[in-house]
Subunit: 241 residues, 2 copies
């Protein structure tokens, strides 16, 4: 890419502003976050992207997640905007690699934080560089202020839990135990199995399938699927747990 | 101000980014929002301010509220970031008055929304131009996307109500009825008087004063004041209503 082309692309972006995304996935009963390591960078970070001058900011987050993971129907939720005064950013840009034209790794003064709820198995990162799903309790050192961003995203997720379609973190077919474990993992507490299943079944958004989950010791091996129209409707009033 | 000085001040700001503030006040049992009309502008807007490259964004909101109203210990809460694609901003800037060097009226692509909870009687706007407190149910046409910003602020206020120090909307001395009316006004519903007062008194943050409110028909004319240390502590767990 010539200098001129690079400069003209830069002009399409809002300078000093980025979107950061905490992509939550649920695997083996652990809550995980997708981390990226850009070529030439030593540290890990959340997916970060620039914002075009001509797009709503939520579109910037969705576009960035699409180019990063290939997913194109992701639930994203803005949760907090973070600022980092120029002085701290200047220190960071002293490292030559940060001055690269790759907007994903440019530090920014203002970053709008989104979280995404994705089906772990459907994410196939397409970006150059390394990526890993990392358990939320075992994060490595992160670039920028991304530790704070992850912490804040988790707090926001817990706070809004009853209004969020967290079933998007589950595969298409799941057991009631899977759903209970999802709640328990996010909230870091346990629920009584019978009461919790009874509560779930009091809503109309779960459909029991003829299939059962095999290969695991499970008192309720029946598989369920979700009717997302009814689910959305129940989420309007909030789902108790 | 010379062109050069003006340009050098502009460089201290983050271009295309602003903070907007929905300043809530409570007066005569109505929830009100402070609106400004800048000299030469035909429409009303929320207080808007620029963000310095060297300050955390919350400081930008507090600084802007200080220069606008003279208050310097205001409770502010970030609630949502709004974006307005460049095309719509370009239409707006076609009006000559919007190109003025006053950063308060410059349109911006990204605006971080804060709300503030203030004691109505303590606000003495210091800015050049008109200002008015406007009932939230009777807003005039607003500049920019400020109708959406006010709507979103009210939704955020309702959603987080139990964790917010809304007593900051009351004067230093108030009756239980004042506090009940405050909740009722924000939530647009009514509460049973006796149950509500009993609930309030179950917390330890209210201190009964020897004085009574005079001149109004009031079954509970006793004046109360708040112990903000105990109040903050109760807010950690959320205050029921």
């Amino acid at each position: 890419m010539t200098r001129k082309t690079s400069a003209s692309i830069q002009q399409q972006y809002i300078r000093d502003v980025s979107v950061d995304c905490v992509m939550f996935g649920f695997h083996d009963y652990h809550l995980k976050v997708l981390l990226l390591q850009w070529p030439g960078e030593s540290g890990w970070s959340l997916p970060r992207g620039p914002v075009l001058r001509n797009e709503p900011i939520t579109d910037a987050a969705i576009r960035m997640l699409h180019t990063t993971t290939g997913l194109d129907d992701v639930f994203v939720q803005q949760f907090q905007t973070f600022s980092r005064p120029a002085e701290s950013v200047q220190q960071e840009t002293a490292a030559p690699s940060s001055r690269d034209s790759n907007p994903h790794r440019a530090p920014s003064l203002i970053t709008v934080g989104f979280y995404a709820l994705v089906d772990f198995d459907r994410v196939k990162p397409k970006v150059e560089g390394n990526f890993q799903w990392c358990e939320i309790t075992e994060m490595p050192d992160l670039l920028f202020d991304h530790h704070e961003v992850v912490e804040s995203a988790l707090l926001a997720l817990r706070k809004d839990l009853r209004y969020l379609p967290i079933a998007k973190l589950l595969p298409g077919k799941f057991t009631l135990r899977d759903m209970q474990k999802l709640y328990e993992t996010i909230l870091n507490r346990t629920f009584d199995r019978r009461n919790f299943h009874k509560l779930l079944m009091s809503y109309d958004f779960l459909s029991k399938l003829p299939e059962k989950k095999t290969g695991s010791q499970n008192k309720s091996p029946h598989l369920y699927t979700i009717d997302f129209e009814k689910y959305e409707s129940a989420l309007q009033d909030g789902i108790s747990y």
